[in-house]
Assembly symmetry: D3
Homo-oligomer: 333 residues x 6
């Protein structure tokens, strides 16, 4: 295996220093509008004593907001006196995407969650991934990575972990999901895990927990409350923050196969016939796509292939061929 | 008053012909990618007998979907046998904006609802406005124009009309609002009515009804059902479609002054503290704006100036100075 | 009538000076990339003795090339000794459009041939139009303005003039068309003449001749030869250049009504079934539009409404609703 | 040799099922405007009995139209009863480019014909290439790939195959070229064959035939007829469609060296002096480039280096340094 | 004269309230990315007692920095106790341009200094101009408007006023220029004063003083010091701030005619032969323009038409036809 | 080590032919606007006799002008009679960037000085780098590569070479720096030399000299004179051009560590407090960053970490987090 050159990223904090530090990951980025410019990724380190380390991340995709809100808030308010161990908070991993309000980086169109393990001499997105791969993930015992649907998808709010080959690791992850206490909890079997941050963390043996908490490129008071409560619950569960987990009932879901997904084959305006969280039957028409070039044309139909509840849906009013129109998950007792 | 040149728009339908016609308003638009090109605005005319004329419009702003869905659907399904009079359906008034999924026209950045009375020799948006002003509005007895919040605002679903100097005209409009039967109904006092389609119709003495039925650049099954039911209810109320109005309870709202609106003065990520439809007190912090350049910074606060319910809110996760962050309306008994 | 402020354009030539002058019309244009910048429109003045004045223009639309080629060539080679009078040559009227290779100006999207009479305090395109209106057209006795189809249309090569209220003026124009000696000659009845350079010249009583000599945003050796020969023929006919008109047979055409034009109502890929110059019958399918979102779909048909020859056609392989797909002109004996 | 991961592309058709199937190659493509979006590449499979397999492709470059027209038409009309074997039709290989009307993909600027053998984890264009390389080409016995000049080149219509090391394979390919029966037939010696679809097919031992049938980003009725006739002729020649080849006379051409090509060194407006198909002598000026910044400047000259016929030419009216201005091919008896 | 509608701009400050107020001019601006958005133009009002009113403005062009730096600094530090009268500070008039770092507004390409008197129903730039015309200028006794060369010009640092028909007004303006104490002082005769802020103020009889203090889209410590000292000097001179004017020697300049300006006719790379402030003779070559398409080509020459000093020059390394390459001003004893 | 395919670049000159040749490096570049297009990089070769070879380059970054001006000028004027050996002049290495006036290539955003050793099958920038790596550098004995600060940085004018492991090579380089005779001379210890042209040349054992001669995307008469004199001095020093070095006093500088650089952490408008070449003390505030969203806010401070002189600074008036705000170098006796 060839040795990689060191990361070009310089942190302005000392990860081993007790107390609260607000700083940056500085990534040199020479470009037309700044010959000696950098990307400055904000981060906070809160350290006290010798407990475990949690790595908390939002903005893996730049248009998902519950995580960044909960984490900017936590970074500002977490008191080291309440901590036993270390909390590393990066509220906006793909910071260029987050500033632009877009899923992918405006610099290189990089999808952070398909860029692992990254490269120290790659694109800006790959350089960030490489820094997480080689510098931050190794420091962590537990990793909580926030997602929501972004501008083009909307989800019922759930916390999730993956089915893993190491069943002990899997069990620990689902225990953390349970502690998070989202209204829904998901057991995910990743079909194509190549390039994911999740996979990078799991392959290092870390406890990895993720979420989908809404979407549409916005957030709601309710979903922000879920994110904030879930973050503290995970830190409590890990023994980093004191006190009992604030437990809430959750409905477990399963996505057993590719039949969960219904894709559009037509261009047009989408008419939802079912809202998120409602029950659907296999074969039911859950949405229609109206052609918009003329009046008087019949719409195409989007059908559920499984019975369950509508778990995610296409968000924008217009739809393109190939867009995922609807996702159905199965209720687990 | 100077005589205007004729509109350059040619309809491919005959407004006086009975039956159903699906056609276009053809607006010549010479441009780099089509020297002899046109904008083709779909419309449907359904005519039977001699009853009144309703003009139904969606897509006044191009990123609002409940109206266009209800109207493309109605245009395809309305049977002339069920009509007494004429229904003119233009599901997407600002058709270039609607195709682009944007509030304003990608051609000229025209905001249709600030472009009336339009100009036959103006921009594409002004030419469309002029055609409505001089050709379509004069044909109508009642006008229903659909709005929602678009990509950047979200509303509780309401139907609305304006406080008018002619109290008989006002009374007729609010009777139509009541017939629409949205969950909320609004009495609007327009501060700055210059350039609006509403004003153009009202100044001709037409009964004018409008809506705000959601937002975020999407639609939901529930709000689409409100739009469909409301459309038929208005047509029934006007005697154009037979049968009784399908009445539903509604909560009346009032927006008494500029204090309904709270504007952001800061750039950052918005954290909603109250969701749409929830009660707020005057002085209550309804949202916070987190600076995103660093961690550890205090957020700015957005406060309600009136007590009432949260009726509209900024939708995207990021916010800019000057954006309307929250709107509070007062409950009317 | 209100007095207009003087044109901001400064010529670097003296229109009254004998001999050959190559220079510019300098139009101040302050912008982000040049605070004190200008548009520099090349022109040539060739003057000898006291004969009539011809104004020769190309690049009225910036993506039409036969005229600019013939006129840059003439400007370089015309010897004042061969001239009796004045020849003013502006090979590229809408110079910003010509540099960009686009129909309209990249600065303001101005279509020069819809911008007359222009405004001295308007857009860049309107300022150029105003200079022609108030400074150049008044100097001319005869005006030859070159057009071709541009990037989005293709024409059989013809020279044309308008049916005019002043029959003596009309007769002089058609005599010049005949002298031009293109393969086809067209009698045009302009439906909507507002804003045209043609109209501006004709209303001043000038002899105005125009062309359509091909298209597609290219030129051919054959069509360039037509343009060069036609230019000299018109100058000979006007008595400005000596020698006999080099006459060629021409076929006269007529475009009697709006039925000459067939517009697309569908989006897709256009399949031409008839080539330019071929005979068509009324009702004949002259092109088809294939939907491109799927295979297996039936194409829409474009039909001729008149019998005649295919005179112009949509050029690009893809077509949009509202594009002019085909133009049929009627043969005149 | 390392094992590649499977292609991310899922076909919605079954290549082994008899009859006609219209479907898609679905390629997942996550992006800012569709988090779980896909590229949907239309394809048709027509299968009957056990004969050979032809793979027919257009839109390798997205602005070339004779192939896509002939293939969308064939996909819609080919009756399985008339087939002995399998016909796989992909009318637009680089579908994103085809939809955009551009040579290369608007997503990644990928030139499909320089992207082989592709990569399953590469760009969208490379993923499509990989699918052809590993899934479609192996199924084929004969491959017909349509090209024309696109928006920036124009060609005399020819069918072509390559000089190959395997003379039996070469002979079979030229027999298919002869069957195609274009007005011209070309023997091509590829100087730089790296990355080409042609090379990928030939290295697998397939019979590979290609064309250049016009250009300029348009098509003509005549060249479309050549494409349709040629397609059926190749299928007849291969024994997949019954009946005799509809043979037409053809002129064989050769491009013996780099001296066939004349490149521009100057910026300006190009004046063609010779049209496509006309004879040229070595040293003859075939085009001139006029400077457009001023009048009165001498044009640069483009000369033929060989005697032959003008086979291809720069299409747009403006030309840049480095553009190929003219191609001369040698007549073969 | 027709009555204009009221300005849509709302100030968040009270111009008549004593003390320091930091606030905004809020200009509603509905657009695709904010349906109910606004432009928020920062301003400060410092008021104490009943003395005269100074209106201090920067960012009339958005890429000029000495003024905004001096005024943001003054707004933060000016103590009302030191003021007798009112100081209204708008550090960035064309705020959208200033945020973008461009001369003109990115919203409408409006050049603020050619937009007066503005329109309340015009573009964003015209709405700002109208607010200054009807609300702010009438409040002022003396107006200081900062300019520098912006990204595309560079100037020797000077303060200036105009030759005016009212000689008493002119005398007062030049007295203020003298008080400013820049290294150079200019007597300007405006050739084309239409649309300027200067003209708007002068026509109301105000004392109007302006500057050019450098350029290139940057500032220097030295030019910032000139701006800060000049601002206080003007306020002292006006009796609004106490203490004596801090006087510095100045060299008076004159720009007697259009011969001060030398324009480029060629495209290329500019080679300066004289630096700012150096003496030049009429006819001297002050810069050369190298063609960049090839090596070995002779450069074009830019000559001074007058003797004097080089007062302004084209800044970027590349130059376009029509750009002002050099400005020579005449020394006044 | 795997064998690379040959470079796709074809020179139009013969490097071994005596005399002066002006030509191009032709790099085929197929794209949407030119299917068979090329990048044409101008170069000049001046050869006489058998002396050493100098490779002179500018435009490594496309917005730096002293080098290109000196080299276009030298290419036009250098007489082979005055040469003993060979001078290869490429005034604009990253020619697409140079034409665009940008640091990096508009084609692929390639930073030439981070693209070595390049790739023959890579991006356009990598293909150019590969040609220098494998074709031009091997021919050279001495390499002079011009830099300035570009649009976003400004430098005191210096010539520089690197501290090298081979002390004899280092000594030769510094002797050439001394011969150049810039006002300042710099000893550079490169922290991260990966991908640089400098490193590529040095690793081949060449004498490599570079410069920083100003910046801001402009040039001055004074810095152009430094570049021209320096070029001739280096050629004289190398014995390629006859005559004595025209020596000038120089001040040697050193940049001992990363503490030379001060980076911005805030967004806003930068106020320089020190100008280039002025002395600064460690801890001194050298610039301030004013927030521009409101008035009345305190600016952030940029401090020097070392005592020395201000050697480089951020140029544009606005600044972003991560931009290099100031560089301090230490005086060497």
């Amino acid at each position: 295996m060839k040795t990689l050159r060191p990361s070009p990223i310089t942190p302005t904090v000392d990860f081993d220093k007790p107390g609260v530090q607000h700083g940056f990951l500085r990534l040199p980025y020479s470009r037309d509008d700044s010959a000696w410019g950098s990307v400055m990724i904000p981060l906070t380190v809160v350290k006290n004593g010798s407990g475990p380390t949690a790595l908390l991340t939002g903005g893996n995709h730049g248009d998902e907001y519950e995580g960044p809100i909960a984490l900017f808030d936590l970074a500002r308010t977490l008191d080291p006196k309440d901590v036993s161990g270390t909390v590393i908070i990066v509220p906006a991993m793909n910071y260029p995407a987050f500033r632009a309000g877009t899923r992918t980086s405006p610099i290189d169109k990089g999808n952070m969650n398909r860029s692992f393990p990254g490269r120290p001499d790659g694109t800006v997105t790959e350089k960030i991934a490489d820094y997480f791969q080689r510098e931050l993930l190794p420091r962590a015992d537990i990793v909580l990575d926030f997602h929501s649907g972004g501008k083009t998808l909307d989800f019922v709010p759930f916390c999730a972990a993956h089915i893993l080959p190491d069943k002990r690791q899997e069990e620990q992850a689902f225990a953390a999901v349970k502690a998070f206490s989202a209204p829904f909890s998901m057991r995910m079997l990743e079909i194509d895990a190549v390039g994911m941050y999740d996979t990078a963390a799991e392959e290092m043996g870390k406890i990895f927990v993720t979420t989908e908490l809404g979407g549409g490129g916005t957030s709601r008071a309710e979903t922000v409350r879920i994110a904030k409560r879930g973050t503290l619950n995970v830190l409590r569960h890990a023994g980093i923050v004191g006190g009992a987990v604030e437990s809430q009932p959750t409905q477990w879901l399963d996505m057993p196969s590719g039949d969960c997904f219904s894709f559009a084959e037509d261009e047009g305006m989408i008419e939802p016939l079912v809202d998120l969280g409602e029950a659907v039957e296999a074969g039911q028409v859950v949405a229609r796509i109206h052609p918009i070039g003329r009046t008087g044309q019949a719409p195409a139909e989007i059908k559920a292939k499984l019975s369950g509840i509508l778990t995610a849906r296409h968000f924008p009013g217009l739809v393109k061929p190939g867009d995922c129109a609807a996702v159905v998950a199965v209720l687990v007792d």
